[in-house]
Symmetry: C2
Subunit: 334 residues, 2 copies
DNA sequence: TTGAAAGCGCTAACAA
DNA sequence: TTGTTAGCGCTTTCAA
């Protein structure tokens, strides 16, 4: 690997001058600047990141912590993390930052601890299922600039980007009511995270608003992976008084519900209307195409990165919060 | 941030001793080791990565370069990169390495150049569409330990992990012939990469083996993104002498082909048999469930990481090559 | 406008 | 077994 010194020698100047040229600092005569630039080009010199970091305390690396990349997300596409990752990666490239990705295995935050404490990164973006995930605590105590995807009730000092899950769910369920539905079930997310809590509460609030009865038999919480949504829908269909609509808090569950309904020979939306959440790619190709709440996933990643870069430059400006709009995409399932 | 020196002070020993403890070196009295360990724990000390890297010339970071994470891969799931990423990430965690992810925008390899030249990483895994992608050249000239996903005809000095695309395609098409198909079309991948070339050649070889005619009208190359596979299938159906089987080199294309066939009121597999490639999650949920060639994507990521770690420890051991087995998964579309 | 030199936190060679 | 010390490659005063 080439060093500053070799460049300096070749250009017949001092280390300091080469450093100035590299960092686009003033006070270098144009002729000399040119000479240095040529030397750099000829040598194929690239500054050593570690050495730079030692003195500047900057890495130009953004950390991203996820439970995983791929996921059998409620039996659906599981495109949430890939899209988030893609958008954060894009934003990093645009802003000339590198991206250090940590998928944190449950119960083993050792690598995460090292990333957070070892000066690897200038700041971190994290998206975890549970509000109480130990990784969030590590982040909070690291005092690194940080932005969460999804608000967190336990760490008000942390910045976040989120959608309004409460209102979005409320809007979706209200839409069902306006379509004449009176017995509306919900397939819930786990409530370890705020998304699950707020979508459930939005559902409840919509029923309350319209004076509809709250039937606990109509609230089901399928497990996150696998085709549990299918079994849950069957359970709903087996009810003596089956629902005429379902609000599924994830597209995967909605798709599995569609399967279960179709198998019973029931029609969607005539017999049962179905609404999903996320608008994953497969939603529009479902039979029938799924009405769903679209989350601006890519935008969340982009904005999270933007907030983080602001925090890195001005930590005292935090905590920063941003709520991005969702959109009810009406197709044919409701 | 805490430093070695603070730990040394607190434990009342020298820097060297603390360093020895951290790096699990011998020649430290157990009692002293304990004292140092306590100091580390009490201080919450984590070694500074940049400082370590400066002297050891090791980063413990693996680079991964991809065109992107999400992709509308021939109108399909596009789970290839997310799965690859997941498996590499897992393997890194298991081997106590961090992962630096670079999605390289077409025509802008600047960040990649910096990663490769700046001492950011100990080695790199890359998966590009085109064998002649400039990034591959950057990698080859960086002299960093590197492993490609997919063999490369231009850089024999590079290590790779791959499947046998030629034989896999040949096997799939031979299966169609054994099922009595005589007029077999193929929806090809782009041929800028070896996967596309070899799947096409395997298709051709199977026809040759069975003495079947090669009809250029039966070779179509849909574009990588979007629903082009749908239009391609329509084109095949419009042929005066339409095919009785289709070998699609990507599941996405196969799925779109299924759509086009269904719309014409034709039956699969009775009228036209369809085979895909990849076995993406949606393949098994298609109507009818797709017969396809399963690629061990996660295994490729795992093995690529393993090879890379070997190369990092012993660069002269390379180039290393590994061919992983595929499997023809027979479902109902053929 | 340029250069000399200190020092970032750590490891490793060498001395004790 | 433990400690002292010389750098690793760079940026950043400070002096010239």
């Amino acid at each position: 690997m080439k060093t500053l010194e070799e460049v300096a020698q070749r250009a017949a100047v001092s280390l300091a001058t080469v450093s100035r040229v590299i960092n686009n600092q003033p006070h270098v005569r144009p002729a000399i600047r040119e000479r240095v630039l040529s030397a750099i080009r000829e040598l194929g010199y690239v500054p050593n990141a570690a050495a730079r970091t030692m003195v500047t305390r900057r890495t130009n690396i953004v950390g991203l912590m996820l439970p995983q990349v791929t996921w059998d997300w409620y039996g659906g596409d599981g495109t949430f993390y890939p899209m988030l990752l893609q958008s954060v990666s894009n934003a990093c490239t645009v802003n000339e930052r590198h991206l250090l990705l940590s998928t944190v295995p449950p119960g083993n935050p050792q690598m995460a601890r090292e990333v957070l404490g070892g000066g690897h990164i200038d700041g971190v973006i994290a998206s975890m299922f549970a509000s109480a995930d130990p990784v969030i605590n590590l982040i909070a105590t690291s005092h690194l600039p940080a932005v969460l995807i999804g608000r967190n009730p336990y760490y008000p000092e942390l910045s976040w980007v989120d959608v309004d899950n409460f209102s979005s769910a409320q809007e979706a369920v209200s839409y069902l009511v306006r379509q004449g539905r009176r017995r509306i079930a919900t397939l819930m997310l786990g409530t370890e995270g705020q998304a699950g809590v707020q979508r459930r509460d939005g559902y409840t609030r919509a029923l309350l608003n319209h004076g509809l009865a709250l039937d606990p038999a109509l609230l089901l919480e399928p497990s996150r992976s696998g085709d549990d949504g299918y079994a849950a829908m069957q359970q709903l269909l087996d009810l003596p008084n089956r629902p005429d609509a379902v609000f599924a808090a994830a597209d995967g569950m909605a798709l599995r519900a569609l399967d279960a309904i179709r198998e019973r020979g029931l029609r969607v939306p005539e017999d049962i209307a179905v609404i999903g959440f996320d608008d994953q790619p497969s939603a529009s190709r479902a039979g029938p195409p799924l009405t769903t709440v679209r989350q601006p996933i890519m935008e969340m990643g982009t904005q999270a990165t933007a907030l983080l870069l602001r925090l890195i430059d001005a930590p005292e400006a935090g905590p920063l919060h941003m709520v991005l709009p969702t959109q009810l995409v009406i197709r044919q399932s409701a």
